[in-house]
Amino acid sequence: MQLNHAQRELTVKIVYYGPGLSGKTTNLQMVHQRTSPEVRGRLLTVETHDDRTLFFDLLPVFFSTANGFKVKVKLFTVPGQVIHNATRRIVLQGADAVAFIADSRRAAAAENNAYWKNLVENMKENNLDPAQVPVVIQYNKRDLPDTKTDAEIEETRKKGKEPVVGAIAIRGIGVLETLYAVLQSAFRSLEARAGLTKNIGLGEREFLTQVFANIDVTGTELERILPPRTPGARP
């Protein structure tokens, strides 16, 4: 988090982490598609010729609070290929929360574990306390053959404290739910550390409502949670 009182500006950083080809960029592309252009920047992606992320993807989303505080949410992905560990470590710097995109297929368990350990190591390298930085796990590719069953995923969930979201990112399923969960976790962690409600008058509800005010949540679970959206109107 970067909190600039002089410029009345708060920057929240979310990093999408996970093994190569687990769907991190796809998640960002789907968020980008569903977000209205007034509140987001362009999606910056740097890919190799075979569509592998080379450095990172970046999608900025921004709004102003009722108090006139400028809030920027920066969504980053890391490159998944093993050789890019230094880049992963740099992108992870100063992350307020992490969305860990795992491949649900049974065969991918070893990779998921390896990147989970890599995440923990890189957090430590960046002076981030893995116990303090919230992580949300997305089990992506639920539609592929040989994926873990819901019961198995439930077992995984019980192993840790992280919220777990199922997804088929390529069809947009579970993407916004993951974003919501990771932003909520990030806000709660920042609230505990920096007292955002007290210091800048920004509460969890306003934070989440403002971010999602300009994101089309039609057909997602979020329709139940968020207030009905009036296109073009500011909440």
Binding site: Q2, V39, G41, R42, L44, V46, L54, F55, F56, L58, P60, F62, F63, K70, K72, F76, H84, A86, T87, R89, I90, V91, Q93, G94, A102, A109, N112, N113, W116, K117, V120, E125, N126, N127, T156, K159, G160
Partner: protein, 491 residues
């Protein structure tokens, strides 16, 4: 640990995203096409581009009057550093309705001369990171030039001259200029996006490279430390082995010596059974002594303490000497021992004692693994070019008709303490050091050892040795110790 704050954590500036030179070219192109001056400033007021057109003479004339200069400076200050808000003389531009939504944030700032400026903020990720100033231009709606605010600046102000000069300034409705500005804004956004991408990725590439280097250096340091530690441990191990072997050998020599004296009756006559027992003590003592010598040899080889002593020698004599020391064992075991040696052979260079030990070790093995009635043969070839060595050399072959060695064990049998049959019930004794010593000594001569074998039919060891050994030192490499971090699987 990544020490420096990454470029991703920093606020991007307009200057970092734009390549000033090519940006200036784009601005110039626009200015020449639309005949309106363009200035671009970042949020700190630093100028990134400033291309004027048409207004130079007119503004110069106005500027030549002190009051004109004052008013002009004030207007330029307003345009450049004033707030991007409807204050300090700025108003909304007069636009056609379709343009209004896109032209959000655009301002009109009138000049006291009657000319006008349009200002548009440069927005990036919700921030205003700079501004573009268009103008001055002559608004289409301005009917009577020159206004009083201009004519009043000096008594001698020449309206006629001013009219002529202002004729070179582009005349257009505000809406037209606003349209041009919007095009420019779109182009600028595209350039900024490309520029940002280039800037962030190139910076990140540098950061990642530096971080990789740092990590590699740390890893190298750790490896060096581990290597130093291992070398020290290895040295201690060899020193320990050497000391222990020495301490074992000294009392053993006494045991053998006193047994020998007993057996020879120096301490009084012994009966037949007693002599047998004492001889057994002697034989077992000798076996133990050989074993300890082997351990001492291998520990010295591994500690790199063995220096071979090359001198001219007669290979035929070397083999004959080795054979004679083997005869008692051969006779006892009941195997046939044959030697095929050239009648005469040129002198070669080598460490006689070590090579003798090599041949004795091979022959001892051959006899050990060959059953009664079997055959052991040693062959020496004359000196000729050896393709294995790419140099002139000779071969010593030790063959037996014994149990043989499985093909998948050919490499392993040369390792220290390795036994093909390492079970506790194995038939053949030994410490598994003989062949390790053979290999070290032969390679120390710049030679090679080969093995061929057929299970149940025997084995053949071939030594290929150069006439003149190379002086290269044999280097031993200790395998690195890997650390395993015990972390639990999350998935």
């Amino acid at each position: 640990m990544s020490q420096r704050e990454s470029v991703l954590q920093r606020r991007v500036t307009l200057g970092a995203m734009l390549d000033t030179e090519s940006f200036t070219e784009v601005v110039r192109g626009f200015v020449e096409l639309y005949r309106v001056g363009i200035k671009v400033f970042d949020d700190k007021g630093a100028k990134l581009a400033d291309i004027k057109i048409g207004n130079g003479d007119f503004c110069g004339y106005v500027f030549s009057f002190p009051e004109g200069r004052r008013r002009c400076t004030a207007t330029v200050g307003r345009v450049k550093d004033g707030p991007l808000a409807l204050s300090h003389g700025a108003r909304l531009p007069v636009l056609e309705p379709d343009l209004v939504p896109q032209a959000r944030g655009m301002l009109t700032v009138p000049c006291f001369t009657g000319l006008r400026y349009l200002i548009v903020p440069i927005a990036w990720e919700g921030d205003q990171i700079g501004r573009v100033v268009f103008g001055p231009f002559m608004p289409e709606d301005l009917k009577d030039f020159a206004p009083k605010t201009l004519t009043e600046i000096a008594e001698g102000f020449d309206v006629g001259n001013a009219k002529t000069l202002v004729g070179k300034v582009r005349r257009a409705p505000e809406g037209t200029i606003a349209r041009v500005m919007l095009h420019f804004g779109q182009l600028l956004q595209t350039m900024l996006f490309g520029g940002q991408k280039m800037y962030l990725t190139s910076q990140l590439h540098i950061e990642a490279t530096l971080d990789n280097n740092r990590e590699l250096e740390e890893r190298n340091k750790r490896l060096e430390d581990a290597n130093t530690r291992l070398k020290e441990l290895d040295r201690l191990k060899s020193a320990f082995l050497a000391t222990v072997s020495h301490e074992l050998r000294t009392p053993l020599t006494s045991i053998i010596g006193y047994s020998e004296m007993l057996a020879e009756g120096l301490a009084g006559p012994l009966n037949g059974e007693q002599v047998d027992y004492v001889r057994t003590i002697m034989e077992k003592g000798e076996t133990l002594l050989k074993l300890i010598s082997s351990i001492l040899d291998i520990s010295q080889i591994e500690a790199g303490k063995v220096r071979l002593n090359f001198e001219p020698m007669d290979a035929v004599e070397l083999i004959n000497g080795s054979l004679s020391s083997l005869r008692p064992q051969v006779q006892k075991k009941g195997v046939a021992l044959e030697a095929k040696l050239p009648a005469k052979m040129a002198m070669v260079s080598g460490d006689r004692d070590r090579l003798r030990q090599v041949i004795v070790n091979l022959l001892t093995n051959a006899v050990k693994f060959t059953p009664k009635g079997g055959r052991v043969a040693v062959t020496l070839t004359d000196v000729q070019q050896q393709p294995d060595l790419n140099a002139p050399g000779y071969r010593i072959l030790v063959e037996d008709s014994g149990v043989g060695i499985p093909a998948d064990q050919f490499d392993k049998i040369f390792n220290s303490f390795y036994q093909v049959d390492s079970s506790s019930t194995r038939e053949y004794g030994g410490a598994g050091l003989g062949l390790a010593i053979v290999k070290s000594f032969v390679e120390g001569h710049g030679g090679v050892v080969r093995v061929a074998s057929e299970m149940g039919h025997g084995s053949r060891f071939t030594l290929v040795l150069p006439v003149t050994p190379s002086t290269q030192q044999h280097i031993l490499i200790t395998p690195p110790v890997t650390s395993v971090s015990p972390a639990d699987d999350r998935f």
